[in-house]
């Protein structure tokens, strides 16, 4: 296989928690991880393709909600708590809204929802759960929701 080379310059992002997302290959890795998780679920549980996609969608919802929209701050003590009130989603691209990375991350749950609902033939319990997952994820990524804490949930510490 011919080796494809990419060139990178270190991005001028001071926040070490988010600068890893600006490198080439991140989007592809994300999509490949989702695809391989689907294969894993299929091989471990031996279920139908639709149930596997629903599982992937729900697990993806749980993981991305926890790490992008719930956990605040950075895993580095040297940042001295500057970002302690911001979730990862609010930190990327230095808080600028509607950048390419943000648009990509908003599209992925929607595409997962379409695949999951199509392969389960829009049957009931799965459809409800999938729709709930995609609505929560997409609403959390709206630019108007920047630094908004509904009912004070997750506002402390």
């Amino acid at each position: 296989m011919a080796k494809l080379y990419v060139e990178t310059t270190p991005p001028p992002d001071l926040n070490k928690n988010t600068e890893w997302f600006m490198y080439p290959g991140v989007w592809t890795t994300y999509i490949l991880i989702l695809f391989f998780m689907w294969l894993l679920v299929l091989s471990v549980f031996g279920c139908t393709a639709g149930i596997a996609w629903t599982t992937v969608n729900l697990v993806h919802f749980a993981i991305t909600y926890q790490f992008f929209h719930w956990r605040k701050g950075t895993p580095f003590a040297e940042d001295q708590g500057i970002y302690n009130n911001l979730t990862w989603w609010e930190q990327i691209d230095n808080g600028k809204q509607l950048t390419r990375n943000r648009k990509f991350l908003t599209v992925v749950p929607v595409v997962l929802y379409l695949i999951a609902s199509h392969t389960t033939d829009y049957q009931q319990p799965m459809l409800f759960l999938n729709t709930l997952a995609v609505i929560i994820l997409v609403v959390a990524k709206f630019p108007n929701m920047h630094k908004v804490r509904i009912f004070g949930i997750n506002a402390g510490r």
């Binding site: 001028p12 490198y23 701050g73 950075t74």
Partner: protein
């Protein structure tokens, strides 16, 4: 501009994701297990939130044996490394009394002054007997000896500035001087890859900090124009002053800064310049005077030049060289001058003697020999590494050469395999470098002989094959020359 194969980028991201996932799982189980243990905090808040030291606990501690290795000799071309073992998979390490003599490719020993030197060491021992190891006082109280005054003059003459001021620690020089130079209402524009000491000093000063893309004079101009037009945040008043901070050699990349272009931009917009020559003073330039001499920039154009004595002069401490007025102002305001203990007198004598050797004032031409040696050594080593197919960063003539590793698993593999073959290298990973770009940083010294370097190249080549970091295989040209020879025959 770093090149990497696309597959390597994907696998590196995936590896970090896997390490992160395992760390999160272990934290999760630790939280559950700790619910059962009784907490004896008695109402006090916990010292650190679980999230803050996640990186240290779950990623750094796994490969802790590759960092912080204790040494048992002077950091010359060959160095004694103390062996360590661990019984709980690297959470705690214990020293043994066994010593490994290794080729030293990790110390900043650019001119070879780290070990005993025939001119410097007798004078240092003499000054140790006369002035004792410490002045036990701050500069302002009783800590200014004749040596300090002489060293300030010598440094100012060496760097070609009117005056200089000394500090006992290089890191503290940056983090204590920047707050003394600029405060709230000022603007600091620093290169995106500046050292942590500069970042800390900038944060501590209270000024607004903006970052420009590494070594890009065009981006610096864009940032300057935008910031000057906007003024201070919220009030939009003009900035009190603007300082642009850059480094001579960037220690993680080994590349020189594009000094002439950046100085031209700063002069156009009347911003002050601060050059941190920690790695370049004494190591590059025809007579060792640093990056200004190498790139032909007049030192009168740089407002403040900072440097350290740790790298090329085999001592410890830092200096600032600038105009007489700035140095007088710093002597009156800088807290590191008032309250920090002054530089140790034998260390000051070491620098004075080292600078005399470099300038040739000790009566021999060892200084010029050392400078030529380090230049030849660096160019030879770098070109050989390129020929072997490694991705090596850094400009020509720079004694720092990082070999790219990328994958997180290759960091401990390279480090441990090299140590097994008696080669001591320094590997650097996130967060000192960007996430994808982990590297092994080689520092060449004037005291490395040709045999040392050839041996090091053999070991690195073998380990490189084992670990799989020869990303750019050069087409074998031996077949071509064989064919030509056969044709001639």
């Amino acid at each position: 501009m770093v090149r990497l194969p696309y597959l390597t980028a994907l696998t590196t991201l995936f590896s970090y994701g896997l390490l992160f996932a395992f760390g999160q799982m272990r934290d999760f189980f630790r939280k559950i297990l700790d619910l059962w243990k009784s907490k004896n905090l008695q109402g006090y808040a916990p010292i650190c939130l679980g999230l803050e030291d996640f990186y240290t606990r779950r990623l750094y501690l796994r490969i802790q044996d590759c960092f912080n290795r204790p040494i048992a000799s002077a950091p010359d071309a060959w160095i004694d490394v103390v062996e360590r073992y661990s019984k709980d998979s690297n959470k705690t390490l214990h020293r043994t009394s066994k010593i490994n003599k290794c080729l030293n490719l990790g110390s900043y020993n650019y001119l070879g002054f780290a070990a005993a030197d025939e001119y410097c060491t007798p004078r240092v021992i003499e000054s140790l007997k006369q002035y004792s190891p410490s002045t036990c006082s701050a500069r302002v109280d009783g800590g200014t000896t004749k040596l300090h005054a002489e060293l300030e003059e010598v440094v100012a003459r060496f760097v070609r500035k009117p005056a200089a001021i000394l500090f006992g620690m290089g890191y503290a020089t940056n983090s204590a001087i920047i707050p003394a130079l600029i405060g709230k209402g000022g603007l600091i524009i620093s290169d995106s890859l500046n050292h942590n000491s500069i970042v800390n000093g900038a944060r501590g000063s209270g000024a607004t900090v903006r970052v420009f893309q590494h070594n890009s004079a065009a981006h610096l101009e864009e940032v300057l124009r935008e910031q000057i037009a906007e003024g201070q945040p919220r009030t939009h008043r003009p900035w009190k002053k603007i300082i642009v901070i850059i480094e001579g050699i960037y220690s993680m990349e080994g590349e020189l800064c594009k000094l002439p272009e950046i100085i031209a931009v700063c002069k156009k917009y009347k911003a002050y310049t601060y050059l941190d020559e920690a790695h370049s003073i004494g190591a590059i330039g025809k007579s060792g005077r640093g990056v200004c001499e190498l790139l032909g920039v007049d030192t009168a154009d740089m407002d403040i030049m900072m440097g350290t004595f740790t790298k090329s002069f085999g001592s410890c401490g830092g200096y600032i060289a600038a105009s007489k007025e700035i140095i007088q102002h710093l002597k009156n305001t800088c807290p590191a001058h008032f309250y920090a203990t002054s530089m140790s007198p034998p260390a000051a004598q070491q620098v004075i003697s080292a600078i005399k050797v470099v300038l040739g004032e000790d009566g021999s031409n060892r200084g010029a020999q050392k400078l030529a040696q380090i230049r030849d050594n660096s160019n030879f080593f770098r070109s050989e590494l390129h020929k072997m197919g490694f991705e090596v960063l850094g400009d020509k003539d720079s004694p720092v050469m990082p070999i790219m590793l990328y994958n997180p698993a290759k960091i401990p593999a390279f480090s441990r395999e090299c140590l097994r073959r008696n080669l001591a290298v320094v590997t650097v990973a996130f967060p000192a470098t960007p996430l994808l770009l982990a590297r092994a940083r080689i520092c060449i010294s004037a005291s490395h002989t040709r045999e040392d370097m050839i041996k090091a190249l053999e070991v690195i080549s073998k380990v490189g094959d084992l670990v799989g970091i020869k990303y750019f295989p050069v087409e074998p040209q031996k077949h071509l020359t064989d064919k030509i020879q056969k044709k001639l025959e």
